[in-house]
């Protein structure tokens, strides 16, 4: 588990340390992710819940040490993400299947269920001392073309997975500032409702 005290959640109610210390670093140490660790992270994703146990997720994976394959994934990132994300030990492109395999009907929650899987991956990564930074900033058309992703599927995000580094290693000043800032969140009162929309639940007080 990492120990970046600045980034630890200042939680109003007790939460598990694996959830509290997780953050999305811009500073990565370009050390490879050992294969057994990568496999444990993917295994954690594998056991997530999904609607009708569809498991609508797929992952396209490459480590720093697989130069050609890694560069192909870097090229699928939005340009702004490339400088810092290419320092991660591994990159993972996430993909969902749009329909249920059992009846070919649209799967309204495929993206949601991918999120469940990636959060599992993140818990496992954190447990192993690794960090995860997810990106929606992906060149989706390029990803589809590069990997020949069929029309029945959609690329969704890219995941940078690796060892977090000291914020001082970031050359981009704006990113360095974000990296040093504490994490902030809405209060529970702003998004936990009871009797009606916008009305805070009595439990939250």
């Amino acid at each position: 588990m990492n120990n970046n005290a600045t980034k630890k959640a200042r939680a109003d109610h007790p939460i598990h340390d694996l959830l509290a210390v997780r953050y999305s670093p811009y500073a990565f140490d370009p050390k490879p992710v050992p294969t057994p660790m990568l496999l444990s992270c993917l295994e954690a994703a594998r056991w997530a819940a999904s609607s009708f146990n569809e498991q609508p997720w797929s992952f396209i994976v490459a480590g720093q040490d697989q130069q050609g394959a890694f560069e192909r994934l870097v090229d699928c990132l939005a340009e702004a993400n490339q400088p810092w994300a290419r320092r991660a030990g591994a990159l993972i492109l996430t993909v969902i299947c749009q329909s249920f395999s059992r009846n070919n009907k649209p799967n309204r929650v495929a993206g949601h269920d991918l999120g469940l899987a990636v959060a599992n991956l993140t818990v496992q990564a954190t447990e192993l001392g690794l960090a995860v930074h997810q990106m929606a900033g992906v060149n989706l058309a390029r990803a589809r073309q590069t990997y020949n992703i069929p029309d029945t599927h959609d690329p969704i995000t890219m995941i940078a997975l690796g060892y977090a580094a000291d914020p001082a290693t970031i050359s981009d000043e704006q990113l360095a500032e974000r990296e040093r800032a504490p994490r902030s969140r809405k209060t529970l009162a702003e998004f936990v409702f009871g009797d009606a929309w916008g009305q805070t639940a009595p439990q939250v007080g």
Copy 2:
């Protein structure tokens, strides 16, 4: 943490126990969820990652003990889910905001990010000895109407949260059978790709 040995993931690679023992029970013990536990679960969701830190999720919550409010949530479930889900200590309707608040542009990953938050909630619940069963089987139109959810937002899933019970307490024979069956998943080789779509990554072997 629960200890339903049948349901524990038979993982091919080591994963954290909180991920391995999680399953989605149909058998709930209709005991209320203590408020501090409910708040810790929601707090865990609060600290999830999200695109641009948008935190696009909202939750509408009621406990068994809040009879009117609980029944209103039960009524928003697909009929097939009502008999077992009404035994859960609490129900939570999940809602996303469709657009980024900073620029009003569509948030392509709002549902995905809700998944990240709910997986966090699930880890925290598991840690506290609670169980989570998520449902896509929701009467979305009724949910929108009941809670006056604005057009800018979408209800997505319902979460049953509470204490898992002995499968023997399930009267529906089909559900009881599912409850006794081990969890199954695709192999990593089926969804972790390397150089091209459908080609298993070399790390998975």
